[in-house]
């Protein structure tokens, strides 16, 4: 442990040193930008007053001199106030006023125009009032008129009007009236009429949750007016989570959004499902849109394109869940849309923020398998021979036991190979963000460096990122925006998961513990074996000396030009580019070898390079118009997008030696390459209409043309409509003071899916060579059964929801029900091989997801101790309604056969195998039950599912369900004085996991090391063990190849996803300064023993979810961080 710690701190310092260069570069940017800052924009009004028996008018004069505030009052009122004696230093105006005036008798109104109005309380008035006419103008804080503002009289609701299109109003009121101005999204304001007849009112934005601005497709909307199913999350809530990429931060945060970390590979992808999996063949990954730019992203265990984005640059994230919200993305919206918005500069503000964290990742023992020690392994080998002798009715002869195993106790613990391959690994992040802005130009610039070393040795992820978001007003009504985000990522990967032929972590589990890691001279023991066990390569040697590196340069560029032609009409055109250049470099030297294939083996290498260019042009027109009680927003647009990826790959074999690793040194090279292109052309339109803030209607349509489909079916139309009704605004709705807002909403729409291969509809010619005359003869074949009439997969979704806000926004509750039918699924189906093809792609089938989602936000306490809770829970039910003529689809994870089955009437991807009903304990039992020829007492009793008296492949059946009953997440945030604490808990209930790795780790042949549970196997009628694992003397293949139902485990868990404790310093030299400690993936409370309960070997494949075939462990991460702002 000490050694590991030392190594960690060394690396950490090195990383810090390296990043100093980076910081230097960033400082240069800061210096340029801060000089433009607009200092002293608004001075806090502080008053120092020392008077004795001074008349009130004189006191007010003093205050006016110091602050510039004017006082308005009826003379008679001031006369009632006795002379003032007071002594205050640096006191705020309201504090001072409260000290001077008795608030039981007087109302003090602070107006926007630096005017303080003083009037007597209504109760203390006596004079009758007369009707007068007042008029005025209502503007927002930027001086723009606000139409439709409600103007009423405080004591008489029957008197009132609304402002006109220019924000003007006129109203007859009692002379002593108080005017109340209310408008959706703005703070309510009251003004005493007094002597004034002409009012200039400035309404301030209301910043409560209901008025939060929600980013939606091609625009934004206040939360109050959102009538689709949209979940949002703000940077402030997720800023301290020490994770590699933004998708990891979504875990447990939103109802209906399931985020699973299927593998712990640094920089690897997350499996995200919005409202379940709907597609059998065309992918279930949501669409990611960064600053309006839909980027190419699909799940990959090793390479997550989102990991090239610096999570510190993200301002907020919206997830569009229902078809009404996502249909504006047409053919790509079917699996939900994740909108990512990066930070922007703001006018009048200049800030510099540094953030830094460093930490340690650790694999808790509870997340690794319990394998046999050397002593246990040897004992098992001895027992095997004892059992075999008994089985063959021969006396046990100790000489049959290899000499090495005869005294197991002497072998001790042996080598714990998994421990050798893993480590406590450091992780660190540095980021600096600068914002600055004037009326004309607003800028945000950031630079980040992130370094995560993997808990598996020789793996890790590094990212260098820069971003510059700029917005400038070129001329009146003409705004130009430019976002530039280059990044460089470096991944060190290992082939760690899956079948032992390749997965080095699996190899580590299976390699005999009766061995040495290193030889006496300190070099790696090249061939690891012990009696009975396979002769294998040394997994640590393989891991440390195999190079698998991936380097990626990416530039994301967004530009736009916005022209506000008229106050109601604007035109925006944007051009976006995503450019990626990737290199993947592999070298395996001759001295490492492979499993069951020990060294020396000729060295092999691989070099892949790819260049991807994706560009998008969008042109939209927006029209906004309000008149009387009507408000209309209309959007029309036209977009073009295309992508081209050129990939080349060279595999080199037969290197003469290990001296040169580059591909040119290989004697034999096999080239490969491809060009992948797609194009998309779209028209889109949306109209939102609001009447009296009560009724909200919205309609969307997008028409997409995609190059991926046959010429007959290129165009698809995706309409949607939604309706919202703010019940709480209705006259008949009882006035409940605690209830702020109640809204009912419903939507229905169609979204599509085009996530099939780029050329699937085109029959292609591929190479398939032969030889004549002992030389190569080029041959070609038709490589697939093409389908020219291939069309869109579409999903029809109905969503019904309710939003409730209580106690002045302190409690917000959302409930939603949805049902989503994915139809005409694009799927590759098995077809009779007599066609010459085993598979063909077609539009077929129907999968339904329906479910409930509930989210709650509660500000529990608001005093010195602030406590806020977010809670969400979602229930999704998946059901296959139709898969065409087939009865079932059997899908496997690579290397493990058909592990999952999809059938009509059942959820997708259930576990598939044999029902194990314990062991045959007696000869009589063996006779009584159907069994496989040759089975003996002590072997597994499989259920004869079809009841035909024979155990064969037809007895495979559903043995488990990988889908959870519900998932949930809860965040509790506490603020007490300078401390803040946040605790994120998330969980899943009811899902099962298939421990397919047990095919190896409980292999009874003796060729592998095995789990300790093998000690409880069947040995004899007297020692039947736990009744699950069978005897080693016969039919060991059955226990391994006939996937038994006892490999299915309960995968329910409750995770302590994140805990962060922070302390805020008040300093003279900083705007803010905070230090915090954070723990990520700290604890999984679960009965699951196989490690990560979110594991899924096939990752994003919805037909084979939940299979554990060993995986890169998910570490617990503990970090310490500092945020510093000036």
């Amino acid at each position: 442990m000490y050694k590991k710690y030392a190594a960690f701190s060394g690396i950490s310092l090195y990383g810090l040193f390296k990043s100093l260069f980076m910081i230097k570069a960033i400082l240069a940017i800061i210096l340029i930008t801060t000089f433009q800052s607009n200092a002293g924009s608004f001075a806090q009004s502080k008053v120092t007053l020392k008077v004795k028996d001074m008349p009130i008018r004189q006191v007010f004069l003093q205050i006016t001199k110091q602050t510039g505030y004017n006082f308005i009052s009826e003379g008679a009122i001031l006369a009632k106030i006795p002379p003032v004696t007071i002594k205050r230093k640096d006191c705020s105006v309201p504090e001072l006023m409260n000290a001077i005036l008795n608030d039981a008798d007087f109302d003090i109104i602070y107006q926007q125009d630096r005017t303080i109005v003083i009037r007597e309380k209504t109760s203390s008035r006596s004079a009758p009032s007369q009707e007068i006419t007042v008029q005025g103008q209502v503007n927002d804080i930027d001086g723009k008129p606000i139409p439709s503002v409600s103007v009423t009289v405080l004591t008489n609701v029957n008197v009132g009007t609304r402002t006109d299109g220019n924000g003007k109003f006129s109203l007859k009121v009692p002379s002593n009236a108080t005017l109340v101005f209310t408008y959706l999204g703005f703070q309510r304001q009251e003004v005493v009429v007094g002597a004034e007849r002409n009012f200039s009112i400035v309404l301030k934005q209301d910043i409560s949750a209901l008025n939060e601005v929600v980013v939606v497709g091609y625009g934004s909307e206040t939360r109050r007016n959102v009538i689709g199913a949209v979940s949002t999350i703000n940077q402030s809530v997720i800023k301290d989570l020490p994770v590699t990429s933004i998708d990891q931060k979504l875990s447990g945060q939103m109802a209906g959004v399931q985020v699973n970390q299927a593998s712990g590979t640094p920089g690897g992808g997350m499996v995200i499902r919005v409202r379940g999996a709907g597609s059998i063949g065309a992918g279930d990954d949501p669409l990611y849109v960064v600053d309006g730019f839909p980027i190419n992203n699909s799940y990959d265990k090793f390479q997550n394109p989102l990991s090239t984005l610096n999570p510190d640059d993200i301002e907020n994230i919206s997830v569009l869940k229902d078809a009404a919200s996502s249909a504006i993305y047409g053919s790509r919206g079917v699996n939900g849309v994740i909108l990512i918005t990066t930070k922007k500069g703001k006018s009048g503000k200049s800030t510099v923020d540094f953030s830094f964290y460093t930490g340690l990742q650790h694999i808790p023992d509870s997340r690794t398998l319990d394998m046999m020690s050397a002593e246990e392994f040897a004992t098992w080998r001895v027992e095997h021979r004892q059992d075999l002798a008994r089985f063959n009715n021969k006396p046990f002869n100790i000489n049959d036991v290899p000499e090495l195993y005869r005294n197991p106790a002497a072998l001790g613990k042996g080598v714990d190979w998994l421990d050798e391959l893993t480590r406590n690994a450091p992780m660190q992040n540095y980021n600096v963000t600068v914002t600055n802005g004037t009326d004309k130009t607003r800028i945000m610039a950031s630079g980040g460096y992130f370094n995560q070393q993997g808990v598996v040795r020789n793996t890790g992820f590094e990212r260098y990122s820069l971003r510059m978001n700029l917005e400038t007003t070129l001329a009146k009504n003409l705004t130009l925006g430019l976002n530039l985000a280059p990044s460089y990522t470096l991944r060190k990967l290992s082939d760690s998961e899956g079948h032992f032929e390749t997965g080095v972590l699996t190899q580590a589990l299976l390699t005999t513990p009766v061995s040495q890691v290193r030889l006496a001279d300190g070099s790696f023991n090249p061939i690891v074996t012990s009696p009975d066990a396979f002769a294998n390569s040394n997994p640590l040697n393989v891991l440390l000396n195999t190079k698998r590196q991936s380097k990626n340069v990416r530039a994301l560029v967004n530009t736009f030009l916005n022209w506000q032609i008229l106050p109601e009409l604007s035109v925006k055109t944007s051009f976006n580019v995503d450019w990626q250049d990737g290199k993947f470099d592999v070298f395996q030297p001759s001295y490492v070898g492979a499993f069951r294939n020990p060294p020396p083996q000729p060295a092999r290498g691989q070099f892949d390079s790819s260049v991807l260019l994706n560009w998008l042009n969008e042109n939209t027109v927006t029209y906004v118009k309000s008149w009387k009680d009507h408000h209309v927003t209309a959007l029309g647009g036209y977009t073009m997008q295309q992508e081209r990826a050129d990939r080349n790959s060279i595999i080199g074999t037969q290197y003469p030696n290990d001296a040169i690793e580059t591909i040119n040194a290989a004697t034999l090279v096999t080239p490969g390459g491809e060009v992948q292109k797609w194009k998309l052309l779209s028209y889109l339109a949306r109209v939102n209409y609001t009447f009296k803030d009560k009724y909200i209607l919205s309609g969307t349509v997008r028409r997409d043309g995609s190059s991926r489909f046959g010429t007959n079916n290129r165009w698809g139309t995706f309409p949607s409509g939604s309706i919202g009704w703010r019940l709480s605004e209705e006259k008949f709705f009882p006035k409940i003071p605690q209830l702020d807002d109640l809204k009912l909403r419903g939507s229905y729409g169609i979204a599509g899916n085009n996530a099939i291969g780029n050329y699937t509809a085109i029959p292609l010619i591929a190479a398939s060579n032969y030889a004549f005359g002992n030389t190569l003869a080029n041959g070609v074949i038709l490589n697939s059964l093409a389908n020219q009439s291939l069309g869109w997969e579409s999903s029809r979704q109905l969503d019904v929801g309710m939003d409730l806000s209580l106690f002045k926004g302190r409690l917000n509750f959302t409930a939603e029900y949805y049902t989503r039918n994915t139809q005409q699924m694009l799927q590759t189906i098995d077809i009779p091989i007599s066609s010459g093809f085993s598979q063909g792609i077609t539009n077929l089938g129907n999968v339904r997801n329906r479910g409930w989602e509930f989210s709650l936000n509660s500000k529990n306490t608001q005093g010195i101790l602030k406590w806020e809770t977010d809670f969400n829970i979602s229930f999704n039910r998946n059901k296959v309604l139709d898969i065409g003529s087939k009865q079932r689809i059997i899908t496997g994870v690579a290397g493990a056969g058909g592990t999952n089955i999809t059938m009509v009437g059942q959820p997708m991807g259930l576990f598939y195998g044999y029902v194990s009903e314990g062991l045959f304990m007696t000869q009589e039992e063996l006779q009584r039950y159907p069994h496989i020829n040759g089975q003996v007492v002590g072997t597994v009793r499989y259920k004869d599912v079809d009841g035909n008296g024979v155990i064969d492949a037809n007895d495979q059946t559903v043995i488990g369900n990988p889908h959870p009953d519900f998932i949930f997440g809860m965040t509790n945030r506490f603020n007490y004085k300078s401390f803040d604490l946040s605790v994120l808990i998330s969980g899943s209930y009811g899902a099962q996991i298939l421990d397919q790795y047990k095919q190896f780790t409980t292999n009874l042949d003796g060729v592998f090391n095995v789990e300790r549970e093998v000690m409880d196997r069947y040995r004899s009628p007297e020692q039947p063990g736990a009744g699950i694992l069978p005897t080693t003397v016969s039919n060991t293949n059955l226990a391994r190849d006939f996937r038994p139902s006892h490999w299915v485990k309960n995968g329910s868990y409750l995770s302590l996803r994140n805990v962060t404790l922070g302390y805020n310093f008040k300093t003279s030299f900083s705007r803010s300064m905070r230090v915090y400690c954070s723990g990520q993936n700290v604890l999984f409370i679960t009965s699951y023993k196989g490690g990560n309960p979110e594991v899924s070997f096939s990752g994003s494949n919805s037909l084979a979810p939940g299979v554990n075939f060993t995986a890169y462990p998910v570490a617990a991460t503990y970090t310490f961080g500092v945020n510093f702002g000036i």
Binding site: F534, A535, I565, V571, R596, V621, Y638, Q654, L668, V669, T670, E674, V675, K677, W678, S707, N758, Y759, I762, P763, L764, I765, N769, Y770, A771, F772, G773, N774, T775, L776, A777, N778, G779, V780, I781, L782, N783, L785, A786, N787, I829, D830, I831, P832, I833, S834, S835, G836, G840, T842, Q887, R888, N933, G934, A953, D1005, V1007, T1036, N1037, D1041
Partner: protein, 489 residues
């Protein structure tokens, strides 16, 4: 801003949207040819034909030796206690395989993939585009031969089959044509294809670069075999006579048939072509057929640990069949390897053992039809037509025996039609051992049940690991693959 200006702007934006839409969405892959633009020239068709040969390689490396030899009394396997992962192969040997046996399915699927490729060529065959009469004839001839050959193997091993003779155009078409047809319909189609091939193919290719392509002689072999299965010995003899006059001859040395440096010899009529080097077209029979504990001693490069080796091991029954002095024994089987663990001699096949440069990549072709086979077929057919004391049948049979260093059979020691029949069957077992003929011969000659029952008694007596149920039902056909049954349910 006045409204007319706005109007212009909107018109401008609208005009952007309608320009050049049609062309924009056309996206042809650059790195692969599109079938729409293919099958336009002679070269296109020649390459497509080459592609139709390619499935022969997996058929022979992955599975045919299990179905053709291990299924019979000729070979078995070395029981691997440590690695039981290839149980499916053992089950084929012991008549215990299930209907989802992956090795059986590999044979079935690769054969149909080959048929599918032939169908594409035959469907799109356009002599006018090929614009070369000879080339056009060779193209249709080869495609017809290959389709017949794939089908002939399948129908003998599986019985009733879907008979797909045109290119499948859609997934629904694939289902529509998957219904199994009676065996006689399949044979009719095979005969038709074989005749088509005979009509169009040359007896010999002039270019060395065409060596290994099927000829009219190969097609006649195929047709003769079909007739013999159907017990039509006169038409069979008609074809065989033409083969005997085709200029083919026996190699002086039996081993030359398996020499990787002298492929496609004068005796060869049809052999599957393998090629070592960076083409992924090499064979690896010697690795598969080597005892699994042999390490580097046999192949020179070492074996993968586990169940990749120790297969197609000659049985004691077969070795006992070799007559004293038969030179073919030591040219076919090595009996020099002693297993270091069991200390027992494990015999293994050496027909496909040759020097090679890269591990698991050998250059050995695999014989399908050779002249010795034709001689024995003719001898058998003549005998079936009518036993003639000391007739031509004796002469044909003795040509094969004399090369093996064995004395000629004469009317003195083979006195009846029945005795001659037994003698020629025996000769076929030895001469063509490990060339995937044995099981098909046992089926064709109706000996399967008797031979295998007797064989199983001897096998079980010497091998304790054979399950009791092994060999209990000598099924003449393999079960129709489960996947195909389920798809059509």
């Amino acid at each position: 801003m006045n409204t007319s200006k706005i109007k212009y702007i909107l018109i401008f934006l609208a005009s952007l949207t309608v320009s050049c839409q049609k062309e924009y969405l056309n996206t042809d892959p650059e790195y692969l040819q599109n079938a729409k633009n293919f099958f336009k020239t002679k070269e296109d068709f020649v390459q497509a034909v080459n592609g139709a040969y390619a499935p022969l390689r997996p058929v022979f490396t992955d599975s045919f030796w299990q179905l053709g030899e291990m299924r019979s009394d000729n070979t078995a396997f070395q029981y691997n206690t440590g690695d039981r992962s290839a149980l499916g192969r053992e089950q084929i040997d012991q008549f215990l395989e299930l209907d989802d046996n992956s090795f059986v399915y590999s044979f079935f699927s690769n054969s149909f993939i080959g048929i599918g490729r032939c169908n594409v060529i035959i469907n799109r065959y356009a002599p006018d585009k090929i614009n070369d009469e000879n080339a056009a004839k060779q193209i249709i001839g080869q495609a017809s031969f290959l389709r017949a050959y794939y089908y002939f193997n399948l129908v003998q091993l599986f019985g009733e089959l879907p008979l797909v003779l045109s290119e499948i155009s859609s997934t629904s078409d694939a289902f529509a044509q998957a219904k199994r047809r009676p065996v006689n319909e399949v044979y009719d189609a095979i005969i038709k294809d074989a005749k088509m091939a005979i009509e169009n193919l040359p007896q010999r290719y002039t270019s060395a670069n065409d060596l290994g392509r099927v000829t009219s002689v190969a097609a006649r072999m195929l047709l003769a075999k079909v007739y013999m299965v159907q017990k039509q010995f006169n038409p069979a003899m008609e074809q065989l006579n033409l083969i005997l006059q085709s200029g083919r001859a026996l190699n002086a040395n039996y081993s030359d048939n398996f020499n990787s440096t002298a492929k496609n010899s004068v005796e060869s009529i049809f052999e599957v072509q393998f090629l070592e080097g960076p083409y992924s077209m090499s064979s690896n029979f010697m690795y598969t057929f080597a005892p699994y504990n042999a390490g580097t001693s046999i192949t020179g490069f070492g074996l993968y640990t586990g169940a990749d080796s120790g297969w197609n091991i000659p049985t004691a029954d077969l070795i006992a069949q070799y007559e004293a002095g038969d030179q073919r024994l030591d040219k076919s089987i090595s009996r020099t390897f002693t297993d270091p663990v069991t200390r027992q001699v494990v015999p293994y096949i050496i027909k496909y053992k040759s020097p090679h440069a890269v591990r698991y990549q050998t250059n050995d072709n695999f014989p399908v039809y050779r002249f010795a086979d034709a001689l024995l077929m003719a001898a058998e057919s003549l005998n079936e037509i009518g036993y003639v004391t000391g007739g031509q049948a004796f002469e044909l049979l003795n040509r094969v025996r004399s090369r093996a260093g064995l004395p000629a059979l004469t009317a003195q020691n083979v006195t009846t039609q029945e005795a001659f029949r037994t003698a020629v069957w025996h000769e076929r077992q030895i001469e063509l051992a490990f060339e995937n003929h044995r099981w098909l011969d046992l089926l064709r000659t109706g000996q399967a049940e008797n031979v295998m029952k007797a064989h199983s008694v001897r096998e079980k007596a010497s091998k304790s690991f054979i399950p009791a149920a092994g060999y209990s039902t000598i099924r003449p056909l393999f079960q129709y693959p489960r996947r195909e049954v389920l798809l059509l349910e």
